[in-house]
C-alpha cells in the first residue's frame, strides 16, 4: 500500500479508533482486505499499540482524581533512568510516565479515586522508593483538551445552507 494511504489509515484511526476497515477502504478506493492487512501490519510492527476510549470524566458520576507528578531521581550506574522508570510504571495508579528534559527527570500521570488516594500513593509508595530524590504533585482541575480533542467545544456549523 502507498505511503500516503498508510498515513491516511493511521491518521483516521488516531482520530477515531472505531473507523472500520470497510469505511477506510471506501475512502481510499481500496479493498477491505487490503486495508485490514495494512492495519494488521501496523499492529504487528507495534506502531499501533492499542485502541482506547477517550473519556471525559467530568460527565461521570464518580469522578476520579488525576495528578501530574514531577519526580527527580538518581540515575543508576548501569540502568540510567530505565530501571526505576520500569519499576514505577508497574504501579497501576501510574497511567503515563515520561522521561523529561529540564528541571526534573520523570513525569508521572497518576489516577486515584480521590485526593487522599493519590496523596497516599505519593507519600507511602513513590517518595519512599530508593533513588527518588523529590516529588512535586500537581492535581488536575479541569480538562480542556485531550488527545487532540476539544472537550468543551460544542460543534456548530454556521455556514449558509446553500452557497454557489
Amino acid at each position: 500500500m502507498k505511503f500516503e494511504d498508510r498515513k491516511y489509515i493511521l491518521n483516521a484511526l488516531v482520530k477515531n479508533a472505531k473507523t472500520t476497515a470497510a469505511d477506510l477502504a471506501e475512502q481510499l478506493g481500496a479493498s477491505e482486505q487490503e486495508v485490514a492487512a495494512e492495519i494488521a501490519d501496523l499492529e504487528k510492527q507495534n506502531i499501533i499499540r492499542g485502541y482506547h476510549a477517550l473519556v471525559n470524566e467530568d460527565n461521570l458520576h464518580e469522578k476520579p482524581v488525576k495528578a501530574i507528578i514531577e519526580v527527580r531521581v538518581r540515575p543508576e550506574r548501569e540502568g540510567g533512568f530505565d530501571r526505576i522508570a520500569r519499576r514505577l510504571s508497574n504501579f497501576p495508579q501510574v497511567t503515563a510516565l515520561y522521561l523529561m528534559s529540564g528541571g526534573y527527570d520523570l513525569m508521572l500521570e497518576v489516577r486515584g479515586a480521590d485526593l487522599n488516594e493519590v496523596a497516599s500513593f505519593v507519600s507511602s509508595k513513590l517518595a519512599t522508593i530508593d533513588g527518588v530524590l523529590s516529588t512535586g504533585t500537581h492535581f488536575l482541575l479541569k480538562k480542556y483538551k485531550e488527545s487532540g480533542v476539544m472537550l468543551l467545544e460544542e460543534e456548530h456549523d454556521e455556514r449558509l445552507k446553500i452557497v454557489p
Binding site: 500516503e4 491516511y8 491518521n11 483516521a12 469505511d23 471506501e26 475512502q27 481510499l28 478506493g29 456549523d157 455556514r159 449558509l160 445552507k161 446553500i162 452557497v163 454557489p164
Partner: protein, 397 residues
C-alpha cells in the same frame, strides 16, 4: 407609504434584465426546513486554521488597522508571488504585477471590467460558476458559453472552444478545477487551449481558486506558464477554498503590469484596498498554514472516494472528478429534471443538492453535490438518496 407601481424605476435596463442567481429560489426553500443535510455548500466545512486566526488577532493587537497600499500589503504580495512561483512556475513582480482583492470575486470583476469593451465576446465553459455570464453582461460584454460534457469528463474541448472564437472574441475564462463539476484539464488540453489563445490573440482569465484541491498526483499547473501565455493571462487565486478562509474575503490577481495596473485603477476607486486585518490573516496562511491545507486536501480526497463510489453503486452515473470538492452526478436516469430531482429529494429526504442548471443550461440533467461536509453526513445523505431512488422506482412501477 408609496405603492411600488407608482415609484419611478431608476434601475438601469442592463441591470434590470440580469437574472437572480439560480440558487436563490432553492436557498429560500431549504431555509424553511429543519433537519436538512446540505450537500449544497460551496465552502469548506473546516474552520480556518488556528495559526491564521491567531495571526489575524495579533495584527489587531499591534494596531495594524489602517489602510494598506491600494495593491495590498507589500509583504503579502511578496509572499503571494513566491508562492505562485514555487507552486505554479510563473514569476510575478510583487511591486507591480500582483493585486490583493476582496476575494477572487472582486478580482474576477476587475479583470472583466479591465478588458471588456461594449460588444466584446468573452468565452467561458459551462457548467460554470454562477457569476461569469452576469459579470460579462454588467460590463456590456457578450457572454459566449461553450458546453462541456460528461463524456469528456467536463473538460473544455479545445476544438469546441475554437469553434466559438469570432473576430469579436476578447478573452477566454478558464476555471479548472471547476465549480460545479470538479473537472480538471490535462496538460495536453491546456497546451491546445493556450495555442488557440495565442493564435487569435486572446486574453485568458485563469480562475485558480480550487487549484490546491486536486487529487491526481501531479503538481499544480497554470496556463500562464505555457509559451506565449504569461503576457496574456490574468492569474486569479485566493485563500477561501484551500485555506478554508472564505469569510476573510482575500483573493489576488497576478498578470502583466499593464493589465494589473488597469485593474488596480478600478479597485482603487471602488474598494481602496482589501481589508487590512484579513490581509494579515492571508499572510499568516502562506507562512504557517500549508500543513493544515494538506491535511484538508487529504480528507477531501477520502470523502470524494466515498461519495463517487456510493453514487455509482446506487445507479447514478458519476464521473470521478480530480479536483475541487464537488461531484456532479447524472440524474437523467430518474426521468426527472435537475430542478425536480433537487426539490423532490429535499422535500422527501431532507437532503439539499444544487440543480445543475443553476450553473448554465448544459448543467441540466445533473446535480452538484459538495463534499465539503463531514463523512458522517455524507454517508447519511447517500443512504437517503439511495432510498429516494428506490422510492422513485417503485412509484414508476
Amino acid at each position: 407609504m408609496s405603492d411600488s407601481r407608482s415609484c419611478r424605476d431608476f434601475v438601469a435596463p442592463h441591470i434590470a434584465v440580469l437574472p437572480k442567481s439560480g440558487i436563490r429560489y432553492f436557498f429560500d426553500l431549504v431555509n424553511t426546513m429543519s433537519g436538512v443535510i446540505s450537500l449544497g455548500i460551496g465552502e469548506p466545512d473546516f474552520v480556518s486554521p488556528w495559526s491564521v486566526c491567531e495571526g489575524t488577532v495579533y495584527s489587531l493587537e499591534r494596531g495594524r488597522t489602517h489602510y494598506t497600499s491600494n495593491l495590498g500589503l507589500l509583504s503579502l504580495r511578496k509572499a503571494i508571488c513566491d508562492y505562485v512561483a514555487e507552486e505554479f512556475g510563473v514569476r510575478y513582480a510583487p511591486e507591480n504585477e500582483c493585486l490583493v482583492t476582496v476575494g477572487v470575486s472582486e478580482a474576477f470583476d476587475l479583470a472583466i471590467r479591465a478588458i471588456t469593451s461594449p460588444g466584446d465576446e468573452i468565452i467561458y465553459h459551462e457548467p460554470c460558476y454562477v457569476s461569469y455570464a452576469t459579470e460579462i453582461r454588467m460590463s456590456h460584454g457578450v457572454p459566449v458559453p461553450v458546453c462541456t460534457y460528461e463524456k469528456n469528463l467536463f473538460a473544455l474541448d479545445p476544438a469546441d472552444l475554437e469553434k466559438a472564437v469570432t473576430p469579436r472574441t476578447r478573452a477566454i475564462i478558464l476555471n479548472f478545477p471547476c465549480n460545479p463539476t470538479g473537472a480538471v484539464l490535462t496538460d495536453e488540453q491546456m497546451r491546445d487551449i493556450a495555442k488557440i489563445a495565442v493564435k487569435y490573440d486572446l486574453a485568458v482569465i485563469a480562475d485558480h481558486i480550487y487549484s490546491e484541491l486536486h487529487y491526481d498526483d501531479r503538481p499544480m499547473h497554470t496556463v500562464a506558464a505555457l509559451p506565449g501565455m504569461r503576457e496574456r493571462t490574468i492569474f486569479l487565486h485566493g485563500f477561501s477554498k484551500a485555506f478554508a478562509m472564505t469569510g476573510f474575503r482575500i483573493g489576488y490577481a497576478c498578470g502583466p503590469n499593464s493589465i494589473v495596473d488597469a485593474m488596480m485603477k478600478i479597485h482603487q476607486y471602488a474598494m481602496l484596498c482589501a481589508p487590512t486585518t484579513a490581509q494579515y490573516g492571508a499572510e499568516e496562511a502562506l507562512k504557517s498554514a500549508r500543513p493544515d491545507m494538506q491535511r484538508m486536501v487529504a480528507e477531501y480526497k477520502g470523502r470524494r472516494n466515498v461519495i463517487v463510489s456510493r453514487f455509482n453503486e446506487m445507479g447514478l452515473s458519476c464521473f470521478n472528478p480530480q479536483g475541487a470538492f464537488y461531484v456532479f452526478p447524472n440524474v437523467t436516469s430518474t426521468g426527472l429534471s435537475s430542478q425536480d430531482f433537487a426539490v423532490k429529494l429535499l422535500q422527501s429526504k431532507r437532503v439539499a443538492v444544487v440543480p445543475g442548471n443553476a450553473f448554465g443550461a448544459c448543467g441540466e440533467g445533473y446535480v452538484r453535490c459538495s463534499y465539503a461536509t463531514s463523512l458522517e453526513d455524507i454517508r447519511t445523505a447517500m443512504d437517503r438518496i439511495a432510498e429516494f431512488l428506490d422510492e422513485l422506482k417503485t412509484e414508476k412501477a
